[in-house]
Symmetry: C2
Subunit: 632 residues, 2 copies
């Protein structure tokens, strides 16, 4: 195995592999300047991050650390993993400081860090729920205790500090915690894994950020240990925490979706850093089958509520979609790692679909309420959540300000703060643009030549993406632009049709040169594989990467979303960010028993069907909604 | 309100209202002599009831009572409601003794009763999980403690003893327990209800069996108290335990299905005994909407796994059907009460559909393993359960011998032991036959005249039901035979078409007279209301009251149930208890992303599609299965 060397030039980005086809760019190299994602970054920084801090404090999860100092943890609040949500918030703050330099946020990080650091025990152990008198002993409940999961999020926050130039106390705390984990769970230590994967992906990144090989070795050990039944058998089976089959033998993602996806991301990181092609191929195989058979049209993953888990292949009910926001975040993590490692820009399709239709669906327009789950069909309008109350019911309410299990808001916050990192990469002599947003990119190619571009676009509502060179590298270079799968064969580059999934221009550029990619972002009617039983006889409409839906808010008074049909053969016209389709309202026939052989053909009445972006649903008050529309 | 008087002539049956359109008959009046239900009663008595006794003993739930005596309840086993499963088993045994007079079973009841009686506290309280030093205090957890639920099942066992002629120690224990409940939860007592309805239906029956009005009053109080938010708000909402809306204001059954249905049965009983037409109408309205919008084609109820609950209207995914066996039992309880109260034989359709397709689906052919849930689509063959192991996984395994939560086996056992009670009723001058099985009926009409008939039939496989008079009442009388909804317009009575839902013969009968009802039990293709999104574009096949399915066991080697289609326009031929349809196997096209606009029409290859009764599925080993079949 290669000796690891920390890269001096690691980007200000959450993922920085030491090797791979493409080099990610940092938040200082890519600046999103407006548009869909610029607006969300702004709301995230100005509203969501302060909102998270307000709630983490109010519900006492920050206070748990103070209670640990005061010896009053009998009043500890939150679930066993509450510490992790504080760490995820600090991670979001750290990236936001990296992006904006906000001194107030920097001061808040220092304040939180000082508090947390005092709670760490001399041997590096750090958790407010375990190990003290009256508390369960350390590592007494690996299945549900989330101790290593919490350390993982602490580490990710520390990596964010390191990458944004702050080798501070939080980094020292995380290193001590990681060293403790290595000592406790090393080759001669406890033969265990955490019930919730997360530490794997964190330890690899810490190894990358610090150059310390031992963290990578420990991550590798955790990945290899999983699937060997060290965790207890439970009602959902050991597949719930992926402890049923070794990672390199599994054929599909299964069990708890966030757990499965975090593990996949960590396993990819281990594979990349150790050159383990077999492990890498195993995860690719699992993820590809998951995309082909266990993923919603939104990119959402997970169809079982009970265990927040993947269903069987093609078991994808829109009404009972769980599609947890955090699973969307985790799927973006996996797809992005695959793009970096393989250089295949098509993984950007998954990143894009999931960002637009899962992650962006979670926060309300004002950034102060969140969906935890993201169903694709809502038969009965949910209740509006009280903006001043923690929601115990993630399932039946609209976006809520906070949850008893509140993993999603901080996960959205840390993702939105780092959106710039998913936009572009460089190779030796090329710049690749993966996501389209108004932005400036200033970086160096792998061979050291500087390159700068400015991207102007109204995407995804408009299809033109103009890349203007601001700093031209000397000599020949390549600018490569991802062509989404739905645009292949219809996209043009400077007016010429692009045949494949990448539009490439290789030449000697001059400052001011422009490259114009035009993507067909008009409405498209899509159907599902016939094996997706739950949506047979229906279609969905997409506009560019955005999945549209019908929302009761846009229907004539009194009409329900379950009483309309769409004519899939008629043209669907764009309308703002949505579309208008030819549809029909159907006459509903009430019967005492809904199953018989005389289902009468209802009389259709024509109707213009307004479709709006799914990620905007329920932003205009409680509504019913459906993505998959029965056809006339 | 009327004063209640215990009927001296109460039938040997679980439900004996003091008033109503029809009088139920007892197990001594109706004897099932063979056929589908005769076989099941035999297996139930010879295998299932001893099996339950074996497991209740082995897992220590019987032993909990001994531990209470020994002061060793720190070793108590099972969940907080484990006592109830012992009581349900005793109830099954009691009915079986009433049916067969088995002295060994009678001795076992006496043995269990003696044990239980010693555990009862002086004030009548009886529960092995609460109230002792080191245990939670009595009634400290009404939401989840199941204390009143356990008393309810104790009472139902005692009622079975009373009705089968044994006014024994168990009856005394149950009366003391009921008196304790009345004292504790009476008008001036605790303003609470049990998180799991059950005591309501039990108390009314105890009032009926003993003539003690106070039990009815207490049941009424519990029914009226529910829906007023005395139980805590929880993640699933108070609708989980029907504490969201008062019973007489609710519009549909909702929340945990077994809870909702037990409550509905109890509320009907209260309404019948107190002449409360408003309450009665409220429950009818709720149940009718539940049948029209929240019931599977099998009669199964409950589509949410997480909270074992009803979904929204038309949210009926076949693959994620929960359709708990106990909910089937409870739905039979409700429908039967409606038949008795209203005299409308059509409620027998619901009883029949649910018995054949939910309750009969649960037990294995040998009566020693049970389904807890009854999905209508199984994509991946379940694992065979270890016949020697308690199953913690009711969901992913095939029928299992016992469960950690093992409510279903004893519920099936007590229902099968009393099947005779659902067959027929009498009115003043008529005999009504609700269910068709080979049987003898010997009883008195309401006006006192004796009547006897013998029913010969091969139903449900064959459609002829011959009712031969063995004892003719003097003068004119009526024999009424239920015509299932699917047979209306096609059934014949002695060769003449019957137009309505009841075939009636009113005349003076002589011994030896025969009435022949012929029902069209050939295969029928049924479609679902278009609002049942999950089965759009599919049909199901029924034979008489029996829902059929396609099971992988009957498909050509290697073919999966999700790769076949049915031609709904071609005739479906009967074949044994099942059918053969014209179908097709479809070519499966694998795609990396299952949603696009180019869904190719797969090339169909004709195939004879064998359909078997759904209740038999997985009796030939692990298999995949589906009830709803996509059409060609």
């Amino acid at each position: 195995m290669s000796t690891m060397v920390g890269r001096q030039t690691a980007p200000i980005a959450p993922v920085a592999p030491s090797t791979g086809a493409l080099r990610p760019l940092g938040l200082d190299e890519v600046r999103i300047t407006g548009g869909f994602w610029g607006e969300r970054q702004h709301v995230n920084g100005t509203a969501s991050i302060p909102h998270c801090d307000h709630w983490e404090t109010r519900v006492g999860w920050v206070g748990n650390f103070q209670r640990a100092l005061d010896g009053t943890l009998e009043h500890r609040t939150g679930r066993e993993f509450a510490d992790s949500d504080v760490y995820k918030m600090i991670e979001a703050m750290a990236w936001e400081v990296g992006r904006t330099g906000d001194p107030a946020l920097e001061a808040r990080i220092a304040e939180l860090t000082a508090l947390i650091a005092q709670v760490q025990e001399p041997d590096g152990y750090l958790n407010t729920h375990f190990g003290r008198p009256g508390q369960p002993p350390r590592y007494s409940d690996l299945a549900w205790g989330h101790e290593l999961y919490c350390v993982g999020h602490l580490i990710q926050a520390a990596v964010a500090r390191l990458r944004t130039g702050h080798d501070d106390e939080l980094v020292a705390v995380a290193r001590r915690a990681a060293d403790h984990v290595c000592a406790e769970f090393g080759p001669d230590g406890r033969d265990g894994v955490c019930g919730h994967p997360e530490i794997e992906v964190a330890l690899v990144e810490l190894a990358r950020a610090t150059g310390e090989r031992r963290y990578l070795d420990q991550a590798r050990l955790f990945v290899e240990r999983r699937g060997r039944g060290t965790l207890p058998d439970i009602e959902f089976g050991r597949e719930y925490y992926q402890d049923d089959v070794p990672v390199r033998e599994a054929t599909v993602l299964r069990g708890h979706a966030v757990r499965a996806l975090y593990l996949a991301a960590g396993a990819l990181d281990v594979a990349v850093e150790t050159g383990d092609d077999e492990l890498f191929a195993a995860v690719v195989r699992q993820y590809e089958r998951t995309l082909a058979r266990r993923t919603y049209v939104t990119g959402g993953m997970g169809s079982h509520h009970q265990d927040e888990a993947f269903g069987e292949d093609f078991e994808l009910p829109p009404d009972r979609a769980y599609s947890e926001t955090c699973a969307g975040v985790a799927s973006v993590m996996v797809a992005w790692r695959l793009a970096l490692a393989t250089g295949d820009l098509a993984w950007g399709d998954v990143v894009e679909r999931t960002l637009y239709n899962v992650v962006a669906t979670s926060p309300a327009a004002d950034g102060r309420a969140f969906f935890y789950t993201n169903p694709l069909h809502k038969r009965v309008a949910g209740e509006a959540a009280d903006p001043d109350e923690v929601s115990a019911r993630a399932l039946s309410r609209l976006r809520a300000p906070w949850f008893e299990v509140s993993c999603c808001p901080t996960n959205v916050a840390r993702t939105f703060a780092t959106l710039g990192a998913y936009v572009a990469t460089v190779s030796d002599d090329g710049l690749q643009v993966h996501q389209y947003a108004p932005c400036t990119i200033d970086t160096a190619l792998g061979d050291g030549r500087r390159i700068g571009v400015e991207v102007a676009t109204g995407y995804p509502v408009e299809g033109d993406v103009v890349v203007r060179v601001t700093t031209a590298p000397e000599g020949e270079a390549e600018i490569a632009l991802r062509v989404p799968a739905w645009a292949v064969g219809a996209a043009t580059l400077d007016g010429t049709r692009v045949d494949g999934p990448v539009a490439r221009v290789r030449r000697t550029f001059a400052a001011g040169d422009e490259v114009r990619l035009t993507l067909p972002v008009g409405p498209r009617v899509v159907a599902a594989d016939d094996r997706v039983d739950a949506v047979r006889g229906t279609v969905a409409v997409e506009r560019g990467p955005v999945v549209l839906c019908v929302e009761s808010t846009d229907l004539p008074e009194g009409l329900q979303v379950d009483e309309v049909r769409i004519d899939p053969t008629a043209p669907v016209e764009p309308a703002g960010p949505g579309a208008v389709a030819r549809g029909a309202r159907v006459a509903v026939v009430e019967r005492p028993w809904p199953y018989d052989d005389a289902s009468p053909a209802p009389a259709d009445e024509p109707l213009d069907l307004v479709l709006t972006p799914y990620h905007d649903w329920a932003n205009r008050g409680p509504s019913t909604m459906r993505v998959w529309l029965p056809t006339t």
